[in-house]
């Protein structure tokens, strides 16, 4: 892709990035940060490309290290975010069943 097209995409992505998180409540700051953290683990794609084209052993070793690090970021990031959100979810379920029981009692 040529430079101008890349620049266009970048600028548009900046605005999308600003826009999608503009109205987040403080309760979700942590999961959102953690989720965004997982997304930049996509550098794994770059690390795979570099490792796949490596011919010298040293280059390959460094590239594989990058693959390990990037995978840790990507996989760990999504798992830890899911765990955080699971707690919110579980809490909502408890509240809901609690309310349902109350409603049943009436």
């Amino acid at each position: 892709m040529d430079g101008m097209a890349l620049l266009t995409v970048t600028v548009l992505a900046v605005f999308v990035g600003f826009e999608v998180v503009s109205k987040v409540s403080s309760t979700l700051h942590t999961p959102l940060m953690s989720g965004a953290n997982a997304i930049h683990g996509i550098i794994l794609v770059g690390a795979i490309i570099v490792a796949g084209q490596a011919t010298e052993p040293l280059v390959l070793a460094v590239a594989l290290l990058a693959v390990v690090l990037a995978t840790a970021n990507l996989v760990g990031g999504f798992v830890v975010t899911d765990r955080m959100l699971h707690m919110f979810h579980a809490r909502k379920d408890v509240a809901r069943t609690g309310a349902a029981q109350k409603a049943d009692g009436k």
């Binding site: 999308v16 990035g17 959102l32 770059g46 996989v75 760990g76 830890v80 707690m87 919110f88």
Partner: protein, 457 residues
């Protein structure tokens, strides 16, 4: 292995990018957050499968082995980590991502003659290294492997300026000539700069720094996308960079601070440094039984949890105490300061884990008017978020931060480990007020003793 048509590759990358946008939007609302995260993971899966099909490459068994190794380390840690240690884990994952981006850029240096690509390489190297080292220091601070207080030494600004200047000179040479040795030096300078950037930051501001470094890593990933000519990396990195910046500002606003003030406050001379001296003024210390009597015969109690509760893993005991009091007819709520703990929303996550009902968790704006009619405010391991200095003393580093108005309650009980000032390192005058009593000890132990005494009433 046959190679995918470039048009298909682009379409699949586009699908992954859309997944990431939907993920961020989903994460912005409680109802859709969990699904949003899964959509993001789906996007990542699409992208990784696509890259294997779209580029002719070797070393595939080794790469798959490295991916397996990375997952095998990260997934169990992420699954088992205690809720209190979540912030440092996020910092750690962020740091390794930045490190990966810097390594990718370093390796691509030999593959290009374009000065523009070299510029992107230099940017990725430097920002990735800053993010890696900064996150490592953040991790050490949160894990209490080192002091949580701001680390400053005379001449720090000078050292920082010299390092940055050297980095710029180095960067210019790398862009001009593409020397790998100088690129390595640039990486080192980036590491030093990252450490120097975070060392002077006081503990209470660490969450904001994690968020800022998160945005940095996003930018490094975007730049590495320019280096590799990969649109997906550019889009995903830019998304994280932009949303991370907004998030950082939102967090700082919730604490009444500016991002610049947090990063450079310590440079300017001890704004977050506070005092280490323990005051000699008298305080009223109390016994678990006294506290139990106060609580058990009150009509309205508000519990204010802070980091001390998280460290002591006392959330379940706190929830039990609330239940025991409610069983006695006491009206009990939890007041959640937006930045209590080490990450915004930390307390919500922690108390949700202990099954405290959602309706009992009150946000600052809703609960503050109720302190006036409250009999006892029980502050468990929180300090800075209830410190009246934020309202009254304009010279204080936390001045301007919105606080929970516990001082208006008829009685205030602090459960504290010691008289040491809080994370921000500032004395809390509320501790010396006549309506305040203190119960020293680990938050969980103290809560358990109070709980026992309440049950015995």
């Amino acid at each position: 292995m046959s190679v995918l048509d470039p048009a298909w590759t682009s379409l699949l990358y586009l699908a992954a990018a859309v997944c990431f946008i939907l993920a961020l939007r989903g994460l912005s609302s409680p109802r859709t957050a969990r699904r949003g995260n899964l959509v993001g993971a789906l996007g990542a899966l699409i992208a990784v499968v696509t890259v294997f099909m779209s580029v002719r490459m070797g070393n595939i068994p080794l790469i798959l082995g490295a991916i397996t190794a990375g997952s095998a380390v990260a997934a169990p840690v992420a699954r088992r980590v205690k809720m209190t240690q979540m912030p440092q884990l996020v910092a750690l994952f962020n740091g390794v991502g930045g490190g990966a981006a810097a390594l990718v850029a370093l390796l691509e240096l030999g593959h290009t003659d374009s000065p523009w690509v070299r510029l992107a390489i230099v940017f990725t190297l430097l920002v990735g290294a800053v993010s890696f080292a900064g996150s490592a220091v953040t991790f050490a601070k949160l894990q209490e492997l080192m002091t949580t207080r701001p680390v400053v030494f005379p001449g720090l600004p000078v050292v920082m300026a010299v390092v940055l200047l050297a980095a710029v000179v180095c960067a210019v040479f790398v862009v001009e000539a593409g020397s790998p040795a100088l690129a390595g030096l640039l990486l080192l300078l980036g590491l030093v700069a990252g450490a120097l950037l975070v060392l002077p930051v006081g503990g209470a501001d660490v969450p904001i720094v994690i968020s800022l470094l998160n945005a940095f890593t996003g930018l490094a990933v975007a730049a590495s996308g320019v280096v590799l000519g990969n649109v997906l990396l550019v889009v995903a990195g830019t998304l994280v960079g932009a949303s991370g910046t907004i998030l950082t500002r939102a967090m700082a606003a919730a604490m009444g601070r500016s991002v610049a003030g947090i990063l450079f406050g310590a440079f300017r001379g001890g704004s977050t440094a506070g005092s280490t001296a323990v005051s000699e003024r008298p305080v009223r210390s109390s016994s678990p039984e006294d506290v139990a009597v106060l609580l058990g015969y009150a009509q309205r109690v508000i519990i204010v949890p802070g980091y001390g509760l998280a460290v002591a893993q006392g959330q379940h005991t706190a929830a039990e105490l609330a239940q025991a009091l409610q069983a006695r007819g006491v009206d009990v709520d939890f007041a959640i300061h937006p930045v209590a703990g080490r990450m915004p929303g930390h307390m919500n996550v922690l108390l949700a884990e202990a099954n405290v009902p959602y309706e009992s968790l009150k946000e600052m704006g809703d609960i503050n008017p109720e302190f006036k009619t409250t009999d006892v405010a029980l502050v468990v391991g929180a300090n800075d978020v209830v410190n009246p200095a934020a309202k009254t003393s304009s010279g204080s580093p936390i001045y301007g931060m919105p606080i929970l108005e516990v001082a208006q309650a008829r009685q205030v009980v602090f459960l504290k480990r010691s008289m040491r000032p809080g994370f921000a390192g500032i004395e809390n005058d509320l501790l010396y007020e006549p309506q305040t009593s203190l119960l020293f000890g680990d938050a969980k132990d103290s809560l358990a003793q109070v709980l026992g005494a309440v049950k015995a009433l």
